[in-house]
């Protein structure tokens, strides 16, 4: 952690309101972006964002600087995403990753969920333009909303936010092998859901 950032945190811990508002300004996009990626709903993401910074304000004295500040911050926002899920339809929206239609979606599949004797049609080219069109966004939203929350969070932390397996494990209190296992299942689950759209 850069010294200036640690000093900013120390000032906020001592009750400096300007330092705290600067912390909010620095991390607001990270928290809102992550919350949106998990919830796929701007209103829920907004509520999660506020709950997270209220928690940060009240618990900042507990941050001891031994971990990265972002690790501590992700731990709080992940907990708030989980609490928000319990209060919302997100719980109902996801399916069991082990159920038919979940990870193992066809009989005779191999360890990655592939039919052993089937062909695998190639996917169409992904859009390289800056603007992702709304139809594709809808497909991506729908697929990830069906992914159970614990797998969804691992996928977002590792593959979208780019955190290491070790840091993801610290945030979620999971072993590295457990993180890797959930990540692989999440990728396969999402791939299966996107497959009809990407092959037609």
């Amino acid at each position: 952690m850069p010294l200036s950032e640690l000093e900013l945190i120390r000032q906020a811990q001592r009750g400096d309101e300007r330092a705290f508002t600067r912390l909010v300004s620095h991390y607001e996009s990270l928290v809102y972006g992550f919350a949106f990626k998990v919830c796929r709903d701007k209103e829920l993401a907004s509520e999660t964002w506020q709950d997270t910074f209220v928690n940060v304000y009240r618990k900042l004295h507990q941050f001891d600087g031994r971990s990265k500040f972002t690790t501590w911050l992700y731990t709080i926002v992940v907990n708030n995403c989980r609490m928000k899920r319990r209060k919302s339809k997100l719980e109902v929206a996801s399916v069991s990753i082990e159920a038919p239609g979940g990870f193992h979606d066809t009989r005779g599949t191999d360890d990655e969920g592939r039919g052993a004797q089937t062909t695998i049609p190639p996917w169409k080219e992904t859009p390289l333009d800056a603007v992702m069109h709304s139809e594709l966004k809808g497909v991506l939203d729908s697929a990830i909303q069906k992914l159970p929350m614990d797998y969804r969070i691992v996928f977002i932390l590792r593959d979208v936010e780019g955190l290491s397996a070790e840091e993801t494990g610290r945030i979620l209190k999971l072993s590295v092998p457990a993180v890797k296992s959930r990540l692989r299942r999440a990728r396969v689950f999402l791939r299966e859901r996107l497959n009809p759209y990407m092959t037609t």
Partner: protein, 81 residues
């Protein structure tokens, strides 16, 4: 039949490790056999490509901007000025 069985077994073996390629690439000597398999197996190559594209699409999904009113509302809740 024997050749098909052997081919399937190889694909299964590769399937267990193909996601390692997503995480660590195939530069390591340990993955040379996987790379060799991918070069001659269109099915596994297509599968790996689709996994890569799955990750890529979610990475490309744009983040929404933080509305200004959210910060104002937060500071009001915390009684900060």
């Amino acid at each position: 039949m024997h050749r098909i069985h052997r081919h399937t077994a190889n694909c299964r073996n590769v399937a267990k490790h193909v996601q390692e390629q997503l995480d660590y690439g195939l530069s390591s000597g340990a993955y040379r056999k996987i790379k060799e398999h991918l070069e001659r197996c269109p099915k596994c190559t297509a599968y790996l490509d689709s996994l890569k594209k799955t990750v890529f699409l979610y990475q490309r999904y744009p983040d929404p901007h933080v509305p200004k009113r959210m910060r104002q509302r937060l500071f009001a809740v915390l009684n900060l000025h």
